[in-house]
Amino acid sequence: MVTLVLPRLISFEGTGRRAASVTERNIACLRSTYWIVLLSGFLEPVLYLFSIGVGVGGLIGDLALGDGRLVGYAEFVAPAMLAASAMTGALSETTFNFFGKMKFMRLYEGILATPVRPIEIALGELAWAMARGVLYSAAFLAIMVAMDLTSPARALAMLPAAILIGFAFGALGMTISTLIRSWQEFDLIANGQFALFLFSGTFAPATAYPQWLRWVVEVTPLYRSVDLTRALSLGPVGWVQALDVLYLVVLFAVGLSIAGRRMTGMLCK
């Protein structure tokens, strides 16, 4: 009975295939220059790691963690850069590029004339953003291991965490894209992203912030992400990290459903 009725009610049949066809379209677009742009995205966190982590780290020396252990500044910054790059990768594909395809290229209007539904476009684009993000994360983790900033086992544990962070920010980015009206508003997003990047416990422990700022920071998505990757990289892992995971999963689910609904509203007027 359930198997008979359920597909008619929500009809997930074919959703996976149709979402995959949207991802496939992006793969077909890969050309020589776009490849370089794609690969260059991975460079950003690495450059920050060397400049701030290693360069400024040379001026700082060791840093005391909450439990009193001393770690090198680069070791402290590296897991945060991983989380930040997962965020940046996911957001660049789901905000700027997604918005361009939706408003400027009218790409989705063409796709919606086929059996593909708005939510399937969202899923397909998200899968694509994630494929990109996983590539960056894996490469960055390899560098961390090579520089002896973490152990191979811990790096393996951080990869799924980075993917989850990517999914959460990807869904958030799509929601934002459906709310934006013009290119100018991307300046706002860029500023917000930069603020998150600077103040999510990335370059200094949150305990160093004034009390009020600390609690604001604690609830932002990048802070929760950094908390997760840093715990996996430097230990110890506990209940707080389980909460981090839950937070990111909820962000993903809520973001995706809002994005799907708003896309339907915008494209199927």
Binding site: V37, F50, I60, D187, N191
Partner: protein, 252 residues
């Protein structure tokens, strides 16, 4: 010269319509950077650098860096758009303007934007109480020179590339590394030799050094003349190249 001022006027009229949306970034950028790196990270740099607190040390570098960021922003997407999408340059070329007027007018507008960005940074720095020397306003002159040294060759680049992907490539492979390794955040002396020479070769480091001398009220000495001369070579070379490439696109 007069004709170029008409072109500048066009860009200013345009700017009057859009300045609000860019005003936030112009102020928020410096504020966030100063708080995040200067105050946040600076708290852990216990010894300071070159005998001054880290915040004081980093601010002049950030002013020069902000100038190059603004220069890059104005010399890339707008230039490409004026050729490829909005065709503004072609419309201007249909009027009795010379290529030099079109290019000169736009570069003048870029200098204006660079000045605004650098001044916003300086204002924020004053508010943070890190400006101690009366020579500090000279950092704005340095910002204009290093800004043009970056803007002119970038304009040339934007005039010839076939797709906007190349702008992202320039940003990631040139602007970002230059911003991060030109002695803004830590002294270039701690870089490996090869990277140090790369920093010496690019314009930003020279601007950072001059800017730091001005802000901290130090005498730049003969090395200051070398920095200045080198930056002017970038400016002149960039302008000549840009003019040649503009001519190739506009007059045929």
């Amino acid at each position: 010269m007069v004709a170029a001022s008409y072109v500048l006027e066009y860009h200013l009229v345009n700017y009057r319509r859009t300045w609000r949306s860019s005003a936030l970034s112009t102020l928020a950028g410096p504020l966030l950077t100063l708080l995040g790196f200067g105050v946040g990270v600076g708290a852990f740099v216990s010894g300071g650098v070159d005998g001054v607190p880290y915040l004081d040390w980093i601010v002049p570098g950030l002013v020069a860096s902000a100038a190059t960021q603004a220069a890059f922003g104005e010399a890339t997407w707008p230039v490409m758009s004026y050729f490829e999408w909005m065709k503004v340059y072609f419309a201007q070329a249909a009027a009795p303007l010379r290529v030099a007027d079109i290019l000169g007018g736009h570069l003048a507008f870029m200098l204006f934007r660079i000045l605004v960005s650098a001044a916003a940074f300086l204002a924020v720095a004053v508010a943070f109480g890190v400006v101690h020397s009366w020579w500090a306003p000279l950092t704005l002159v340095v910002a204009l020179i290093v800004g043009l040294a970056v803007a002119a060759p970038t304009v040339a680049y934007s005039a010839v590339i076939p797709s906007e992907s190349y702008l992202a490539i320039l940003m990631r492979f040139a602007l970002l590394p230059m911003s991060l390794f030109s002695g803004v955040f830590f002294p270039v002396e701690s870089l490996p030799v090869v990277l140090r020479w790369a920093a010496y070769a690019l314009p930003l480091w020279h601007g950072v050094e001059l800017s730091r001398d001005a802000m901290l009220g130090r005498a730049p000495g003969w090395l200051g003349l070398v920095h200045l001369g080198y930056l002017l070579v970038w400016c002149a070379g960039g302008c000549v190249l840009a003019h040649r490439l503009f001519r190739r696109r506009l007059v045929f």
